[in-house]
């Protein structure tokens, strides 16, 4: 599945948050979006997964404009792991994951045995099967994040959109989640804070600053000392270890 966006613009009040963003997401690639806080990463992703409507521009899924698709149509194509999943009411973990099956449901259809199996398989993939019957709000931040990822997996879509999915996770789970995403080989759009995670797991990177694309390319092409200085305003050094084709960034100081 392919996603492309053309000239996506969005302003809130007088502030232009997105100032014309064009991206192409190709089948089965992992495209990382990097950029400092407030650069518009989350806002842009929200436009793509339709919880925000851009003021101008066009987003197409496999060549079809999303304005012509129903929410259900897009939910069958892309699953989302958003930031901040806080619920006022307590659900069991398995119930949250089962919600991933919602787009497949007609009004009166109940959750079937297959749905339960898919949900349990998704939980197993994120390593939370033994917590299926626990209440969501008793989980740690990282476990909650993995539950939401399991929900996205249960949605069984060609495309995954993730907004900083490794937030709150300790290093082991950061790697596990990213390895899982890598192994899934779906078309993946992912906002990442950690440049080393981005470098290791993304096929291509797009850098945003002030709501504009300021650079794109493979991690090796994009992550240079000069570019990191320009994008984040920090001094760093970039290293390649062994046979790795991806860079390692070591941060030194602010400018």
């Amino acid at each position: 599945m392919e996603i492309s966006t053309q000239n996506i613009q969005l302003s809130v009040g007088k502030k232009n948050i997105l100032r014309g963003i064009d991206i192409e997401l190709y089948s089965n690639e992992i495209l990382g979006i990097i950029g400092p806080n407030g650069s518009g990463k989350s806002t842009f992703l929200k436009c793509v997964y339709r919880t925000l409507k851009p003021d101008a521009g066009k987003i197409t899924l496999d060549g079809k404009s999303i304005d012509e698709l129903s929410y259900r149509d897009t939910a069958l194509k892309m699953a989302v792991v958003a930031q901040h999943n806080i619920y006022n009411f307590d659900f069991k973990v398995i119930d949250i994951v089962l919600m991933g099956r919602a787009p497949y449901k007609k009004l009166l259809s109940r959750d079937t045995k297959d749905d339960f199996e898919l949900a349990r398989a998704a939980l197993a993939k994120v390593g939370l099967l033994e917590k299926a019957e626990q209440s969501f709000n008793t989980l740690s931040g990282g476990e909650q994040q993995r539950t939401i990822l399991a929900r996205a997996l249960a949605q069984d879509t060609e495309c995954l959109i993730l907004d900083e999915p490794t937030n709150h996770l300790d290093i082991r789970y950061q790697l596990e989640i990213m390895e899982l995403i890598q192994k899934l080989q779906r078309t993946t759009l992912i906002a990442v804070h950690d440049l080393n995670i981005a470098a290791k797991f993304c096929h291509r990177l797009i850098a945003l600053r002030d709501g504009q694309v300021v650079g794109q390319g493979t991690p090796k092409e994009l992550l240079t000392v000069d570019f990191i200085k320009e994008l984040y305003g920090v001094e760093s050094s970039v290293h390649y270890f062994g046979d790795n084709i991806y860079p390692h960034v070591v941060f030194e100081s602010t400018l």
Binding site: Y49, Y71, D73, V80, A82, N85, N88, D90, M99, A102
Partner: protein, 350 residues
């Protein structure tokens, strides 16, 4: 296999609750100013059922009248109103995503009170007949719901916060109008009857009213039950729901209207009865969790049992007088609510 076992378990519990409801209703028939032995109640019920005469036909004996005309209608009404208010509470909590919501949260009770006050003070019985108070209350309740939806949709899409704030604002306006009307009318007798009406009572139940109310309650509760999936999604929020393929905005407004239909008819037949719609959903969540597919039917059953018992107590607590049901429920409900709050294992959905 495990799921099948669980389903059987819940069906069994639902059956047991149904039996408890039936027993409570039967026992409620026996108590009151005149205590009736069980076998006489049974006999009267069976005779009345088999009798070709209409229920209201005169000359069928005092006991027949007590059971068929006085007690049974109000017991059935208590069950219907209890079930309706409990389900409406569940739905309102989902609509505004707030565990503190109750059926009246969006200003419905203030609207109903304003309607009732106007009816009582201005004696609108010439326009609406004997039940002018109920009809005006219903109109007030429903008008407020429409107003809340209208205001929440102004300047962009409605969401749960906007609904809540619109409800608060309209509620304040209605309350002040009620006070204004009462202030200028200066009519002590009418004020007393307003106060009494606001405390709620099942005494006005009649068979013709029951026919309508049972139809409304049954259809609305069934409809909301079928909406369980949407109600679950409401609790995880609009954004997550969109990524799962559902635009909740339109569902929320439909649910709100159906829910106000329930509340409107409850108010119309029994006045304002608080706490049921707040308490019952929380109690039921303790046992069956947050999923609406179980929460709605169990809340309906527990709400019905609760009001049937409360109404029966109201009729016997004071000698030769009736305690308004709203008072009794708050007296039982508030301490129980505090108990739930203090109890560690349950944190109001959080």
């Amino acid at each position: 296999m495990k799921n099948w076992l669980q389903a059987t378990k819940y069906t069994t519990v639902a059956l047991i609750l149904g039996i408890i409801l039936a027993i409570a209703m039967f026992l409620a028939l026996s108590i009151g100013n005149v205590r009736l032995p069980n076998f006489i109640i049974w006999e009267t019920l069976v005779n009345g059922w088999n009798s070709p005469l209409p229920i209201e036909a005169p000359g069928q004996g005092g006991i027949h009248d007590i059971i068929w005309l006085l007690r049974l209608p109000r017991i059935l009404m208590a069950a219907l109103v209890g079930a309706g208010l409990a389900v409406s509470g569940v739905v309102m909590q989902a609509i505004v995503r707030n565990p503190l919501a109750d059926p009246y949260i969006l200003g419905i009770s203030s609207g109903a009170s304003l309607g009732a006050t106007v009816a009582i003070l201005f004696g609108l019985s010439f326009a609406f007949g004997d039940n002018s108070v109920g009809i005006m209350a219903f109109i007030g309740a429903f008008a407020i719901s429409l107003g809340v939806i209208f205001i929440a949709n102004m300047g962009g899409r409605a969401n749960s916060t906007k609904l809540l704030l619109a409800g608060l604002a309209l509620s304040a306006v209605c309350s002040s109008f009620t006070s204004l009307v009462v202030y200028f009318a200066n009519n002590k007798e009418a004020m007393q009857s307003i106060a009494f009406w606001m405390m709620g009572s099942m005494a006005g139940a009649t068979w013709s009213l029951l026919k309508v109310v049972s139809l409304v309650m049954a259809c609305s509760i069934l409809f909301l039950w079928l909406q369980s999936r949407m109600l679950n999604l409401m609790l995880v929020g609009d954004e997550a729901a969109i990524t799962l393929g559902y635009d909740l905005n339109k569902y929320r407004q439909i649910h709100l209207l159906v829910s106000s239909l329930i509340v409107g008819f409850a108010v119309y037949s029994a006045g304002i009865i608080g706490f049921v719609g707040l308490l019952v959903p929380h109690v039921v969540r303790l046992f069956v969790g947050t999923g609406h597919i179980k929460l709605i039917p169990f809340s309906a059953l527990v709400g019905a049992i609760f009001l049937v018992v409360a109404d029966a107590l109201c009729r016997v607590i004071l000698p030769h007088a009736e305690l308004p049901i709203g008072i009794l429920i708050s007296v039982i409900g508030a301490p129980f609510f505090v108990f739930l709050m203090v109890k560690r294992t349950y944190s109001f959905g959080n």
